[in-house]
Assembly symmetry: C2
Homo-oligomer: 298 residues x 2
C-alpha cells in the first residue's frame, strides 16, 4: 500500500471515530448549536497528519491502528480547537479554514470560543476513557503529555508569543522564531510522536528517540508552513496566503529568505528521518509521512 493510500485509510478510521465521538445523540445534553460548531471544526477535510503520526508510530511497535485511533481522535480534537481559537478576530482573524468558513464565520464568536473550549475538554475526555487504552497508567501518562503540550509552555504559549511578536520584526531572532515554532506547533507534534511508543509500552529510549523526532518534525512542519504562505495559492490551501507578510507575523522565510528556509526544512527532514531509519522497513511509511510534511504543497 502506498503512503497516500495509507494516509487515506487511517483518515477514514479516525474520521469514523471522530464522527462517533461527536455524535450528539450519543450524549444527553449538548446543545445542538454547540455540537454543530464542534463538528464543523473537526469533521471534514483536515489532512489528519497528527493522527497519522500517532497511529503509524504505534504500528512500528506492533499496535494495530484501530487500537490507537481514539488517542489519534483526541489529538485531532485538540488541534481543531486550536485552529478555531487562532482564527478568532481577536487572534489571527481568519475567515477561511480547511476550505470552509472558519467557525466564528459559520456561527459566531461566542459559539466559536465555546466550541474550541469544549473540543479541548473532549480531547481529554477521550484520552481518559477506558476505551482509549486498557491501562489507566497509560491513559494518565497520555493526558499529562497532551496537557503539557497544549498549555502555557506549549501550544497556547507559542500562540501568545506569535501574537506578541507580530509587527515587531526587529525583535525577532531566528532562535526566537524557532522557539515559537517549537511551542506553537512542535509540542503537539512531539506529543503525537511519543504517543505511539507510549501506547505500545516501549522502553524509555524509544520514547526519547520519538520525542526528538517529533521536535524536528514540528520545526519542519511550521517552516514548511511559512514557505507555503509565500509560495502556495489560497484555493489549493483552503486558507488565505501571503498573510504572514501582510500581518507582520514571525516567519522563518521573512527572517532567513526562501532559499535558506528551504535548506533548513531539508536539513530537519533528513535529521528526523535519520532518527527512525533504525526501525527498518517498519518505519518506511513514517519516513514517507515525514517527507510529505516537509514537501507538502497544501
Amino acid at each position: 500500500m502506498s503512503f497516500q493510500d495509507k494516509l487515506e485509510q487511517y483518515s477514514k478510521i479516525v474520521n469514523e471515530r471522530l464522527n462517533n465521538h461527536l455524535m450528539p445523540g450519543k450524549h444527553f445534553g449538548p446543545p445542538e448549536r454547540l455540537s454543530d460548531a464542534m463538528r464543523h471544526a473537526v469533521i471534514g477535510s483536515g489532512k489528519r497528519i497528527r493522527p497519522f503520526i500517532i497511529m503509524e508510530s504505534a504500528k512500528i511497535f506492533g499496535v494495530n491502528p484501530h487500537r490507537s485511533a481514539d488517542v489519534a481522535s483526541a489529538v485531532e480534537c485538540l488541534h481543531s480547537y486550536s485552529l478555531v481559537h487562532d482564527d478568532l478576530p481577536a487572534m489571527d482573524d481568519d475567515d477561511m479554514r480547511r476550505g470552509k468558513p472558519s467557525c466564528h464565520k459559520a456561527f459566531d464568536e461566542a459559539t466559536a470560543i465555546l466550541a474550541g473550549d469544549a473540543l479541548q475538554s473532549l480531547a481529554f475526555e477521550i484520552l481518559a476513557r477506558p476505551g482509549s487504552d486498557a491501562d489507566p497508567a497509560i491513559r494518565s501518562q497520555l493526558v499529562l503529555e497532551m496537557a503539557t503540550a497544549a498549555g502555557w509552555a506549549g501550544m497556547a504559549g507559542g500562540q501568545m508569543m506569535d501574537i506578541e511578536l507580530t509587527n515587531h520584526p526587529k525583535k525577532i531572532k531566528l532562535a526566537l522564531i524557532q522557539r515559537i515554532h517549537a511551542m506553537k506547533t512542535g509540542a503537539v507534534l512531539e506529543f503525537s510522536a511519543v504517543a505511539g511508543p507510549i501506547i505500545a509500552k516501549a522502553a524509555e529510549d524509544h520514547i526519547h528517540r520519538f520525542r526528538e523526532y517529533g521536535k524536528l518534525v514540528g520545526l519542519a512542519f511550521q517552516a514548511a508552513d511559512d514557505l507555503l504562505d509565500v509560495t502556495g495559492d489560497s484555493e489549493h490551501l483552503g486558507k488565505r496566503t501571503g498573510k504572514d507578510e501582510i500581518s507582520g507575523k514571525p516567519s522563518i522565510v521573512a527572517r532567513a529568505g526562501l532559499e535558506k528556509t528551504q535548506k533548513y526544512v531539508n536539513d530537519l527532514e533528513q535529521a528526523a528521518i535519520d532518527l527512525i531509519v533504525p526501525y527498518g522497513t517498519a518505519a518506511d511509511d513514517l519516513i514517507e509521512a515525514t517527507r510529505f510534511i516537509c514537501r507538502r504543497e497544501k
Copy 2:
C-alpha cells in the same frame, strides 16, 4: 475550628499550591504576559468553594486536605478559565471579576482567550501529574470526570444554552433553566463533590450519594446567584449586579419571582444536607459549607 476558619485554612493551602503551580520560573517557556494573565485570573480573592468541597468531602473519608489540594487546585484552574472566557465581550461582556478588572480588561482579548485555554490545559496537567494522586487509575478517573463536567454536555454546553436563551424570555421554562444551571454550574460542583470519595477510593454508593449531593448544591448555587444578582450590591460582590434583568439572561428569579426562588433554594439546601447527614459529625463542616453556599451574601 469554625467553618469560616476552616474555609480560610483550606483557601490558604490551595492558594499556596496554586502559586506553586503557576510559578513561571518553575517551567521553561511560558511567555510572561500569558503567565501574568493566568495568575491574574486565578490568584487572589476567589472564595475557593469548589476546592473546599473537594478537600472536605475527601476528609470525611479520612483524606488529609494536603493530599487532595492538587485536585482542588485543578478545579480552581478550570473554574477560573470559565470565568475568563465567560467575561469576554463576545460572551457576557463583564468588565469586573472578583473585585478586579476582568482578564481581557487587564490585558486584552487575545491574551484572555489564551489564558483561559492554558488554564484549562493546566487543570488537566495538574490532575494527571503523579503528584496529584499516587494511583494512575484515580488520576485518569478524575480526568474523565472533570473533562465530562467541563465539556459540551457540562459547563461549556450550559454556557452555550445560557447565551442562546438570553433575550428569549418566552422560551424559558423553569425545567430548562434548571437544565442550564445543572450543566453550567452543577456539573463542576458535582465533580467537586465526587472527587473526595474518588480520591479516598470510597465504595460506589458513597460516590453516588456525593454525586446527588453535588447536583443539588449546583442547582442551589446558581439559584442563589440569581437571587444575589437582584438583592446583592456590586461593591460587595466584586462584579456587576442587576445584570440578568438588563441582559435578559435566563434567571430563576425572573421566571419564578423572589419568594419562590428563596423557597426553592431552601428546599435544595435541605435535600443536599439530608444526603450527608448520615456521615455524622464528620460532615458538620460540609453541612456548614452547604448552608454558606445557599445563604451567601456575596
